[in-house]
Symmetry: C2
Subunit: 145 residues, 2 copies
DNA sequence: CTCTGTGCAAACACTTTGCAGCTAA
DNA sequence: TTAGCTGCAAAGTGTTTGCACAGAG
């Protein structure tokens, strides 16, 4: 799972970002990188509590957001937003701005027929395939510079 | 926007699914397919209220879920879920089961370097690109048959 | 006429915020 | 010592549920 060099790297990263290295942070980080699925804050909380019985859910939440800010973790695309609906039945792809959360449609023919690997199509029924891009949109880029 | 044939098709679809064709449903449906972005229930509600001043937000919400069930609308991938975190820094793709909401990682080399169309890369800063598949996982498929 | 759909309001789940005490540096 | 972190609790946001009435079939 987390080798000592992983921890060292993590501590170095914290220092570089001006963050303190607290036992809670290390615990949350280790729990996260030790997870294969994509845990929610709650799931992770349950996990961390085994070794850290009185850590609070808020701390886990905040720590995860902090980790995401320094690039030590990611938030799975689109999760946590409000529900969004789509009436467009044609094939199209999404670009999502991480700043303003806007979703921009685009259509790029080559993406329509990307082949699904057999390792997936054999086991699961694929209903929909999309290419999902994340980044910063033109408006937000202007705003930030 | 919505031609009469669109409406006809929609009504036919409702009948087929055993749903009643109510003015509210038609209004919500038309508002949805008349939207280019990916509106949230709230956004759509504001829109529908212009022509239907006393429709309730709940109805919009329920109608959208119903539409999603009969396949007349889609819920944008992953939205509405709780936040999920990802400690895996390597390139990988996600498959999400629409039944149990589980996210399964997979890695398919050809997807790592999919080219971003110039129409996007010229205008936006792309930070992350993922191929997002949605469908039914093996366990849920067994459960449903 | 019957049964589904609607509108309202309360309940819920998850996230964010504010603050006092604690702790890494 | 002191700035930043944690834990608790309260507030906020968005979604779901229960129920009585209205309207589609």
């Amino acid at each position: 799972m987390a080798s000592s060099s992983d921890s060292d790297k993590f501590e170095a990263r914290c220092h570089k970002a001006g963050l303190k290295v607290t036992p809670q942070r290390i615990a949350v980080y280790n729990a996260l990188i030790g997870s294969k699925e994509h845990p929610s804050a709650d799931t992770l909380w349950r996990k961390v509590r085994k070794t850290f019985p009185n850590i609070s859910l808020d701390t886990v939440n905040r720590t995860l957001l902090t980790l995401a800010e320094i690039g030590a973790a990611f938030i799975v695309e689109g999760s946590g937003d409000v529900k969004r609906f789509d009436g467009c039945l044609e094939n199209h792809q999404h670009f999502r701005c991480v700043k303003c959360k806007k979703i921009i449609d685009f259509h790029h023919k080559p993406f329509d027929n990307i082949p699904v690997p057999k390792s997936i199509s054999g086991k699961y029924t694929v209903l929909k395939k999309t290419v999902y891009l994340e980044g910063i949109c033109d408006l937000c880029r202007k705003r930030c510079t």
